[in-house]
């Protein structure tokens, strides 16, 4: 099933480096040959203090405080490896809100 990696590109996440992070993620995904994963920017997930934030959708995994050194593990996960548990720090009520929003097609 194809997945989207939604990388927040709003002010806070950007100030925490989400722009180069998104470019690096794109490269690593291409290098890994994951053709069914698309990297897209997102406006805001409402978890600015915990950025940069990346949400993998529709499988619904949310990675917070992502640093460049975390990307290899995330790409491994996208290739079928284990979920990166230590980056899964977001409160479940916010997750639910954002996932519902994504389910209604708001990208």
């Amino acid at each position: 099933m194809s997945q989207a990696c939604l990388v927040c590109q709003n002010i806070d996440c950007k100030s925490r480096g989400s722009e180069p992070l998104m470019a690096a993620l794109q490269q690593k995904i291409a290098a890994k040959g994951l053709t069914d994963v698309e990297v897209k920017s997102y406006m805001c997930f409402g978890a600015c203090q915990e950025g940069p934030n990346i949400v993998v959708y529709p499988e619904k995994n949310w990675y917070a405080h992502v640093k460049p050194e975390d990307l290899d593990e995330i790409v491994e996960h996208l290739a079928g490896g284990p979920h990166v548990k230590r980056l899964d720090t977001i409160d479940s009520s916010l997750k639910e809100l954002i996932y519902q929003l994504l389910d209604t097609g708001v990208f």
């Binding site: 002010i11 806070d12 805001c44 409402g46 203090q49 916010l94 519902q100 209604t104 097609g105 708001v106």
Partner: protein, 419 residues
């Protein structure tokens, strides 16, 4: 009925010092300056004057807080940013009745013990700035402000500050930031400006119309003032009607006047000639009212009980045949564009609401998307430094409740029912 600010009719042209003096102008100042500042606060409190910038806070109380704050110096700020779309009242007062406003400023500064007042005026209001500048020169020559006002020990300096014309620049703490030479970004509250305001000192920020009421109250007394309006909202308010009615303009009406009077007798009804579909009593941030609520009295409590608000009196009408989805999409986009961006929650909320409403307009998302609006609003409730985060909620939630068919039509056919 006679008015308080516009005694006979909406004024035309600039009222000069001589004309203003001829109708008792600056008499209130001459009397008050012989008494104590507390006398002014007491009379204005007894009159029940409430702020006209939107929140309706009791003016006497705001002044009392400012007076009682231990720090000095204290400042008075006149908020004439007037960034509310469709609002014209402050411009009319500044342009046509500059001395009424200035006398109010001087009296208010005396009341709170401020020796410096800033007049914050929308930078696009060239004629208003010119009118106030000229009136200030006239008033200074007559010793109404400056050193030793009318021979008393009270000194007051007054300075005009042009206001940037984005929406949040009218928020009272953003006003303080601009006067301090910074960007118009609201501050976190508390502390409130009455204790920590301009340059960190106690500051009373009052709307132009609020200040314009001060001289008439002091000249004619609280009992006279209370003959207008209702017990909770004494006096009058200036309402702005836009081009959707036959006679757009500003109308001063006593609080408690039925909304119908403003719309029909003053505005001459809808220009479109169609029946009214919805009324927004405080555009763009209040809940829509259905046309059956047209007899609701125009006062703070009645509007709140009817499910909406009075704001700063910009009344907008929606004609039958207009699609409410298009209306609220415009409103959602307005707040997204005007969010200053410093609070993450506000950015997230306004962006999400805009995107969701665009989906609805395009007929995407089905019924579940409609349920997301309330959730996003509830999630962000109470967050953010200023009130902008709370503004898209009332129009969107009332539109969903009152006009479900419009949303349904977009979602099922992808087409606007108005076309």
């Amino acid at each position: 009925m006679e008015g308080i600010l516009f005694p006979h009719a909406v004024p035309e042209g600039r009222e000069g010092l001589k004309e203003y003096r001829a109708r008792g102008g600056y008499d209130a100042l001459a009397n008050a300056i012989k008494g104590t500042p507390q006398d002014i606060v007491r009379v204005v409190s007894e009159a029940g004057l409430r702020g006209r910038g939107g929140a309706g806070f009791p003016t006497g109380k705001k002044w009392q807080f400012t007076r009682e704050a231990p720090e000095t110096p204290r400042y008075l700020v006149m908020n004439g940013g007037e960034d509310e779309p469709g609002s014209k009242k402050d411009r009319v007062l500044l342009e046509n009745l500059p001395h009424l406003v200035i006398e109010g400023v001087i009296l208010s500064a005396f009341a709170i013990g401020a020796n410096k007042a800033y007049l914050y005026i929308n930078a696009r209001y060239d004629a208003a700035i010119k009118s106030i500048t000229d009136a200030l020169a006239e008033a200074k020559a007559a010793a109404h402000w400056g050193d030793k006002i009318l021979g008393s020990d009270f000194n007051l300096d007054i300075e005009i500050i042009p206001a940037p014309h984005n929406y949040v620049a009218g928020e009272d703490t953003a006003v303080l930031e601009v006067i301090e030479g910074k960007k118009p970004l609201p501050r976190q509250k508390p502390p409130f400006p009455v204790t920590v305001g301009l340059f960190g000192k106690p500051t009373s920020v009052n709307n132009v119309e609020t200040l314009a009421n001060v001289a008439p109250i002091l000249l004619k007394g609280a009992d006279w003032y209370r003959k207008f309006g209702t017990a909770e909202s004494p006096g009058t308010m200036i309402f702005s009607l836009d081009d959707d009615v036959n006679r757009p303009g500003v109308y001063e009406l006593p609080f408690g006047t039925p909304l119908r009077h403003l719309i029909e007798a003053c505005g001459g009804g809808l220009k479109s000639g169609k029946p009214i579909k919805a009324i927004m009593p405080a555009a763009p941030s209040s809940a829509y009212l259905s046309p059956e609520k047209i007899d609701t009295p125009l006062d703070h409590n009645s509007m709140r009980d009817a499910g909406s608000g009075l704001g700063c009196g910009v009344v907008k009408l929606i004609s039958e045949g207009t699609c409410i989805v298009e209306e609220v999409l415009r409103i959602a986009d307005f707040f997204t564009a005007e969010s200053c961006g410093q609070c993450p929650a506000c950015r997230m909320e306004t962006n999400a609401l805009s995107m969701m409403m665009k989906k609805v307009q395009a007929g995407q998302g089905g019924q579940p998307i409609l349920e997301q609006f309330g959730k996003i609003l509830a999630f962000n409730k109470g967050k953010g430094f200023c009130n902008l985060i709370a503004m898209p909620g009332p129009p969107i939630e009332s539109a969903l409740k009152l006009f479900p068919a419009d949303f349904e039509a977009h979602l099922t056919t992808g087409k606007c029912p108005a076309n």
